[in-house]
């Protein structure tokens, strides 16, 4: 027997949990470096290129903010669902349908002015994403169907719907056979703030993040979500309409991911094409968990993981490392952070007295 006893903490670990987080991230970077070594790349070079690529230039910073926008919005949605213990893994598909909904509006009304077309695109993106979130919620509450697998399968389906449209009826005749729609009209594009390189999408994030924070912290429904998330049975007993709450939360969750899809299509690529699906919806899950479902920390974590993606692109360019390496780092970070949770929940005490 080890001379150590494990004792459950009465109070959750406070600021010291930062050290656990740092330790987890350092451990996962070490493990990633080890995998680089196996793949035949010097891990020191790799980590230097990764960090320089992620934080070393003005361009990297702008690119990271651009990538952080969709991750942040998807992650807000994931976090509010997770808060209620609803495992929405479907941000990726809700994002895809949001982009499809926004594109539908942009292609249908090419001559509409910006003050009409942008709200219409946002509304359609939110509705499409929201419906994609509502379906698994209804199945979960009415039939007890497992939402993890349904949301995940709906990701595959949504991406194939997007493919079907851009390879088929929405394909730009002038695209030389490439699967993409024609470019949106200027009115349907979310542009840059003033002369800077920052998209107005950042402002969308700030406003939506604040709204969600107020909604969760200062409204009755927000309180009910937190209460029901902590204990479903007690919440039902207290008269909280749990079924309706789950559906509402999944609509919000899907609408936020759909909004992210709108921004990606309108602001980043100015059209719909299959390459907009780059796994932001899955990264959002990592972000939400790292940030412990807190909207403010989600902002920070979204930026960090977006910077990681930018760094991995530098790795790809400079050292010919496949882009999939980003997935390895993300997976490792999530696993080590999960494992580190032990230190927040339990204390380790030396056994006193005789050793057995």
């Amino acid at each position: 027997m080890l001379p150590i006893r494990i004792v459950k903490r009465q109070e959750p670990l406070g600021w010291s949990s930062c050290f656990v987080l740092m330790g987890a991230i350092i451990l996962s970077l070490l493990l990633s470096g080890f995998l680089l070594l196996i793949g035949g790349t010097s891990p020191v070079d790799g980590i230097i290129v990764l960090f320089k690529g992620a934080f070393g230039s003005q361009f990297a910073f702008e690119d990271a903010l651009l990538k952080a926008t969709p991750i942040f919005l998807c992650s807000l949605g994931v976090a509010i669902a997770f808060r209620l213990q609803v495992w929405n893994i479907g941000a990726e598909g809700q994002f895809a349908l949001g982009a499809v909904g926004a594109t539908w509006m942009a292609l249908s009304f090419p001559d509409a002015p910006a003050y009409l077309i942008l709200p219409a695109m946002i509304a359609m993106a939110a509705v499409a994403g929201g419906i994609w979130g509502l379906i698994p919620a209804i199945l979960r509450q009415k039939l007890k169907t497992n939402e993890i697998i349904v949301t995940l399968m709906m990701n595959y389906i949504a991406i194939l719907i997007l493919d079907y449209l851009v390879y088929g009826i929405w394909k730009d005749p002038a695209s030389f056979g490439f699967p993409m729609t024609s470019e949106f009209s200027n009115a349907a594009i979310v542009g840059k703030i003033g002369n800077s390189n920052f998209s107005w999408g950042l402002l969308h994030c700030a406003v939506l993040g604040t709204c969600l924070w107020v909604f969760l912290g200062f409204t009755r429904i927000g309180f009910e979500i937190k209460a029901a998330g902590d204990n479903v049975r007690a919440a039902r007993y207290a008269g909280i309409p749990y079924d309706r709450l789950v559906m509402l939360v999944m609509i919000i969750s899907g609408a936020l991911a759909g909004w992210a899809g709108f921004l990606e299509a309108s602001s980043t690529v100015n059209r719909l094409q299959p390459s907009i699906m780059s796994g932001y919806g899955y990264t959002a899950i990592v972000v939400a968990w790292l940030a412990r479902l807190n909207p403010f920390f989600i902002g920070i974590a979204a930026f960090m993981l977006a910077a990681l993606r930018v760094g991995v692109e530098a790795l790809q360019l400079d050292l010919q490392i496949p882009a999939a390496f980003g997935g390895i780092i993300e997976g490792l970070i999530l696993l080590t952070v999960l494992a580190g949770g032990l230190f927040s929940q339990y204390r380790f005490v030396l056994r006193r007295g005789k050793r057995e």
């Binding site: 993890i148 399968m153 899955y282 882009a323 696993l335 494992a339 949770g341």
Partner: protein, 306 residues
Amino acid sequence: MNSDIIIPLLAAAVQSGTPILYATLGEIFTERSGILNLGVEGIMITGALSGFLVAYFTGNPMLAFVIAGIAGSCAASIHGLVCLVFQGNQVVSGLALTILGLGFADYFGTPFIGMSAPGFSTLEVPLLSAIPVVGPIFFNQDLLVYFTYFIPVLMWFFFYYTRYGLSLRAAGEYPAAATAAGLNVVAYRWLGVLVGGFSMGLGGAYLSLAYTHLWTNNLTAGRGWIAVALVIFAFWKPGRAVFGAYLFGGIMAMQLRLQASGTQIPSSLLLMLPYALTVGVLVFSSWWRGKTDEPAALGVNIEPAE
């Protein structure tokens, strides 16, 4: 329709269903011990790559198949470590393992895309393959398919007729009572994770060694998630898993044939079929509410004793 079309299609259904069957049986074994492992997709692709690489470098498919199983157990042990030692959330840990496994296979597999390795080919069973209808469907397959005819029976026997199987189920049903009865619940859960991971790795290896014989990215294409859904459809019973896996194999075989026949249906809609069917199958099993063997303590961690 005539039998010249139906019988090859059913034989193809058995073949396409086999990797899913290996994975589903593995997940049933793991879940019966009380551990929910959502990393099946990541474990399968790890097994697929390991199997491919070993076959490519040694030229020995049987060795490759076994190593793929061991690689599956290793990948699953990460989940075991996070959930059984560090008390991490089982849902999130499984997702993380899937992200990690897919990245891992892409990273190490990219140099080998499009290359082929020696694998398994059709091995007719004497006498049995001469039986009309059943013979060409079930006994004109490769060796790895024949293995799956025995595994569900062995699992069923293990669960219901051995002491160890009973203990493993107890760890999944009522860990507190199992502990009180003197069982080492954590050890049985480790057994569930490792043996289950072994079978998931084999399922992945079936894809690279028997189904395609070559390496491509995203070889599993969601089959791991289909397996997780099939566990629910099978009500955690090994026998019903066989039926579910062949159903999906049939859909996948039909989809390939339709694509090859130059149909007017767009390929993205055909590719949607297995995923839509997965949702359908889940809705069906939750609506039907048959007698399920879902372990009561599935996904619930065991708190370390003070």
